[in-house]
């Protein structure tokens, strides 16, 4: 039993729903109690889908248990087929139905429905949403895709995009353009946009572009083995990764590498003098493994940030994320415990968080700017505008998105110079964010001061072995909010390393000189 407040991933059947909802003409018959229908709103509200997810829930009740839940399942499956006439059906159980062991897969098989019926085994008490999506897509591909003659023109399948994915809609378009510029056509995009009949045509492609390993790696491996289709290992998020991706595609396809950089603005924006203030900004990265790995490279090589910590919530990606952290001289935070992530951020005091919607809440609480780089995301992260993460435009979007939460370069200096101005003061926050002032810090910062209200579960405090003298505390308050956390942390580290128990104004400035860069 594990105490959980917020979760990064839903249960595995929600992953299966992301696959089914992204597809066309596929139906999911889910053995589940009525409450599980809440999952529809993830798609209709958060993603603003204009259709109900193609899911029929059996919605059994207590009185059905011990009576005939199996028959309820069969009726639901038959009615779903009659009403929706899908090309294929996937069947499975949610956490509760798993316990009553009705075997939906076996039952569906005996019904003799005239379309392929694909049983899903998604262990609800062991695995989570990404596994559910990956396994579901794998089972669908394994059942429907067959070796076949290749297309005349070199072509690729784009695999991994699902409903409720972070910018999947726009990444598809961007990757399609990258390939098209190299004379490669797209055979099938799956699961998003494809029907079961399209899946059956996947074998015609020459190779697969694995866009999101979280949701399609099992299928990619299977197709490599059974359909003799290699797949790309580079996820083209960021300028360097996009170039590497192009090189990888060239090697696989034999077509000449080509990248149209006429619309690429990130490198110049990053070089232009206004961006000098980005130098060495201390950032913390958290999200799914794929997006965090990509963000680590961009942060370090393309933005000039200092990555002070990184991690992911999906254990499946722990190995590459740990390796990346080690390469950067850091220890990765691999956890799906939101409170632990919050503790790490509180300790590291980064100047910016690149995370999920959950880290946005942490950032708001601690007064640290945050940009979203990964699912889980909320309704505002499904923008109306074209807003990919991948490819050329993805790099431009990332530059804008990451810079936006920060105080602008010259503004930083003005805040330093006129820190007592009653209107133009640091507590007002970045001037281009009306009404989004960071948390006021009367106590001089979130840590190591005890939080104003008892925060219980996450209330672990640093031990107060270093004391701030009143003068030093006042001096600290004169430092603008966006560097105050760093100054506090650096000074404490400096003091602790030298065995200084009390921090004076001198200690503060000695530390400042020590860390100057």
């Amino acid at each position: 039993m594990k105490l959980t407040v917020w979760t990064y991933e839903g249960p595995p059947h929600v992953g299966a729903m992301r696959v089914a909802t992204g597809m066309r003409d596929l139906h999911y018959v889910l053995h589940a109690p009525q409450g599980d229908t809440y999952a529809d709103l993830l798609f209709t509200m958060i993603e603003r889908r204009d259709h109900r997810p193609p899911v029929t829930y059996t919605t059994f009740q207590a009185r059905d248990l011990g009576a005939d839940t199996a028959n309820l399942f069969k009726t639901a499956a038959q009615e779903a087929y009659d009403r929706f006439k899908p090309q294929a059906i996937i069947v499975g159980a949610s956490c509760t139905a798993e316990l009553i062991q009705d075997d939906p897969g076996g039952m569906a098989e005996t019904m003799g429905l005239p379309v392929p019926t694909i049983p899903l085994e998604l262990p609800s008490y062991q695995r989570k949403e990404n596994f559910g999506a990956d396994e579901t897509f794998f089972q669908i591909v394994k059942t429907l895709a067959k070796p076949m003659e290749r297309t005349k023109q070199i072509s690729a399948n784009l695999i991994g995009p699902t409903a409720l994915g972070f910018r999947h809609r726009d990444d598809i378009q961007e990757v399609t353009t990258l390939l098209s510029d190299m004379g490669i056509s797209v055979n099938v995009v799956a699961p998003m946009t494809s029907s079961p009949q399209d899946i059956a045509q996947m074998g015609a492609a020459h190779f697969n572009v694995l866009m999101y390993p979280e949701t399609a790696e099992s299928a990619a491996r299977w197709m490599e083995r059974e359909l003799d289709q290699p797949y790309t290992k580079t996820v083209p998020i960021g300028v360097g990764a996009t170039r590497d991706f192009i090189a990888e595609v060239a090697a696989i396809s034999g077509n000449e590498a080509y990248l149209d950089t006429s619309r690429l603005r990130l490198p110049w924006y990053s070089k232009s003098v206004d961006s000098t203030y980005l130098t060495g900004k201390r950032v913390f990265l958290f999200g799914d493994g794929t997006h965090v790995l990509a963000a680590a490279r961009i942060a370090q090589d393309e933005m000039g940030f200092e990555v002070v910590g990184l991690g992911c919530y999906n254990r499946e990606m722990a190995r590459p994320v740990r390796a990346k952290a080690k390469e950067m001289g850091l220890t990765a935070t691999i956890t799906d415990d939101y409170l632990e992530v919050e503790r790490v951020i509180e300790q590291l005091q980064p100047e910016m968080i690149l995370g999920t919607q959950m880290e946005r809440h942490i950032g708001k609480r601690l007064g640290i700017p945050c940009a979203v780089i990964s699912a889980p995301v909320h309704v505002q992260d499904f923008p109306a505008r074209y807003s990919p993460q991948m490819g050329i435009e993805g790099a431009n979007v990332i530059f804008d998105t990451w810079v936006h939460p920060l105080v602008m370069g010259l503004e930083e200096h003005l805040l330093h110079m006129f820190r007592e101005d009653f209107e133009f003061h640091d507590a007002a926050g970045p001037s281009h964010h009306g009404g989004h002032a960071p948390k006021p810090e009367d106590t001089g910062g979130p840590a190591p001061q005890p939080a104003a209200s008892p925060r219980g579960l996450s209330g672990e405090m640093k031990d107060g072995s270093v004391i701030w003298l009143a003068d030093a505390e006042n001096e600290l308050k004169k430092i603008p909010f966006f560097v105050r956390g760093k100054a506090r942390r650096n000074t404490e580290t400096f003091a602790a390393e030298r065995g200084v128990a009390e921090i004076s104004v001198d200690t503060l400035y000695e530390a400042k000189a020590h860390y100057a860069r």
């Binding site: 039993m1 105490l3 959980t4 407040v5 917020w6 979760t7 839903g10 059947h13 929600v14 909802t21 992204g22 003409d25 596929l26 109690p33 009525q34 409450g35 599980d36 229908t37 809440y38 999952a39 529809d40 709103l41 209709t44 509200m45 958060i46 993603e47 603003r48 889908r49 204009d50 259709h51 193609p54 029929t56 207590a62 248990l65 639901a76 009615e79 956490c95 509760t96 316990l99 262990p123 609800s124 008490y125 062991q126 989570k128 409903a163 809609r169 598809i172 378009q173 998003m192 946009t193 409170l339 609480r365 909320h378 499904f382 008892p454 925060r455 219980g456 579960l457 996450s458 209330g459």
Partner: protein, 446 residues
């Protein structure tokens, strides 16, 4: 007391045959109630004993995530817990010990049963009893079920309040108890009106804090503020308290009738009642009239959701001039909504439970001007050209009593006004709506 309500000339809906269909239901489970209960009871913690799905539901239903740490959480069952029940009890003790050690501010802990905990028959009553002894007197531990195999949406609040009734101390004091978790501002308005009539003492269930001196006994009379409190009603009756049946306090008429039932019980003089209610009644009528302009003559279709459907249909048809086509409720307790059914003019289909696909067929055929439904159905229906009102807002917004009557009407008129306001049709060149995620060349299932 005051003028009697105009009863429908053709008869009310109390004896209308109820359409009951059995199929997929598109509703929340009772766990959802925790979202508002944990804000109402400030020293309570709700610990769901369930699965990752339960945790995910609470997070998704909360919609806007709460920045502070919420006073609810989920003890997620794992493989090892499913193997043997003795283990699960020990594990639960550990989780609760850990929780209470870190949250000394918690005075009431609710162990909330879920679908998986019900199916494996994890005895939470036993656990609650054991923990109450262990953590007495600082913490009281209670249990109730919010499982989707037993409860629908607002029934979670009912189960929670019902679990509190048996442990209330006995009192022989003459008192009025208001039952139902209301926003503070609304609760204070109700108490203010009743006190102005000289009625008292007035107690509320749930109280904001555990320590409040709430007792119950044969001299207690109670008024329900929500129509979904059937089990709580039964539990209170078992303790000897007496129910004051009335239409529910939505809209000017409902509020007046609800207050009148209490005033009659406490022998309030008619002119005092008139004096206290005249001004707010006039304000409510005025506010409703403004919002009702957009609603007058429009048709409405209710999908089952919160059990508020029947009282709301009564309000919208009688005070806002709407015509109800179908009034669906997840569960109809005639002992509670009977007075509202009496006032609802015969005509609409009254349905209980649902087969969502068949009900959608009916709604699409009827083309109502406004459809009240859950979040899973709202955007898909909007995309088909039906204006919708998401039902969940009705339990998250202050809508009871006089001062909120205009806001309540406004919740329904806004979607209709918005539909009139937007000059977007046809949305795409071929006249068919093609917005949403389907827009663009790489549409998903549309």
């Amino acid at each position: 007391m005051t003028e009697l309500p105009r009863l429908p000339a053709t008869g009310g809906c109390r004896n209308t045959p109820i359409l009951k269909q059995r199929g997929q239901r598109e509703v929340f489970c009772g766990l959802t109630g925790i979202i508002w209960l944990h804000r109402k009871m400030q020293d309570a913690f709700f610990l769901v004993v369930g699965s990752r799905t339960c945790a995910h539901l609470l997070q998704s239903a909360a919609g806007v995530m709460i920045f502070a740490e919420p006073r609810f959480g989920t003890a997620i069952l794992e493989e090892t817990d499913l193997a043997g029940l003795a283990d699960a009890q020990d594990e639960l003790d550990k989780v609760v010990d850990e929780l209470l050690a870190r949250r000394p501010d918690i005075k009431q802990l609710f162990l909330v049963g879920s679908c998986p905990s019900e199916v494996i028959k994890l005895d939470l009553a036993k656990a609650a009893e054991r923990m109450t002894q262990r953590h007495a007197p600082s913490v009281r531990v209670l249990n109730f079920s919010g499982s989707g195999i037993e409860t629908t949406f607002t029934q979670g609040e009912d189960a929670c309040l019902a679990s509190m009734v048996p442990v209330l101390p006995k009192t022989d004091d003459r008192q009025l108890l208001l039952v139902g978790a209301l926003p503070d501002v609304v609760e204070e308005q109700a108490i203010g009106l009743l006190e102005a009539m000289g009625i008292g003492p007035i107690k509320v269930l749930p109280a904001p804090r555990a320590g409040e001196d709430l007792g119950i006994g044969e001299n207690t009379v109670y008024a329900l503020t929500q129509p979904f409190l059937g089990d709580t009603h039964d539990a209170l009756t078992r303790r000897g308290a007496r129910h004051l049946p009335a239409p529910f306090p939505f809209g000017e008429e409902g509020t007046t009738q609800w207050l009148a039932a209490i005033a009659t019980e406490f022998g309030v003089a008619p002119d005092l009642f008139e004096q206290v209610t005249a001004a707010p009644r006039a304000r409510a009528r005025k506010a409703i009239a403004q919002a009702a302009e957009a609603l007058n003559g429009k048709t409405i279709f209710f999908f089952p959701d919160s059990q508020l459907e029947i009282p709301l249909a009564r309000f919208l048809t009688r005070e806002c001039g709407m015509d109800a086509i179908e009034v669906g409720a997840p569960f109809i307790h005639k002992g509670l909504v009977g007075p509202d059914l009496d006032l609802l003019t015969e005509g609409p289909t009254i349905s209980e439970g649902q087969d969502v696909d068949l009900q959608l067929d009916r709604a699409k055929a009827a083309k109502p001007d406004l459809t009240v439904c859950g979040l899973g159905l709202a955007n898909p229906l909007e995309a088909e050209g039906l204006a919708t009102k998401w039902a969940i807002e009705l339990v998250f917004t202050p809508v009871h009593f006089y001062e909120q009557a205009g806001d309540l009407a406004g919740l329904f008129s806004r979607p209709i006004r918005r539909a009139d306001l937007l000059k977007l049709n046809p949305v795409s060149s071929d006249g068919k709506y093609d917005g949403g995620v389907g827009a663009g060349p790489h549409a998903g299932q549309q």
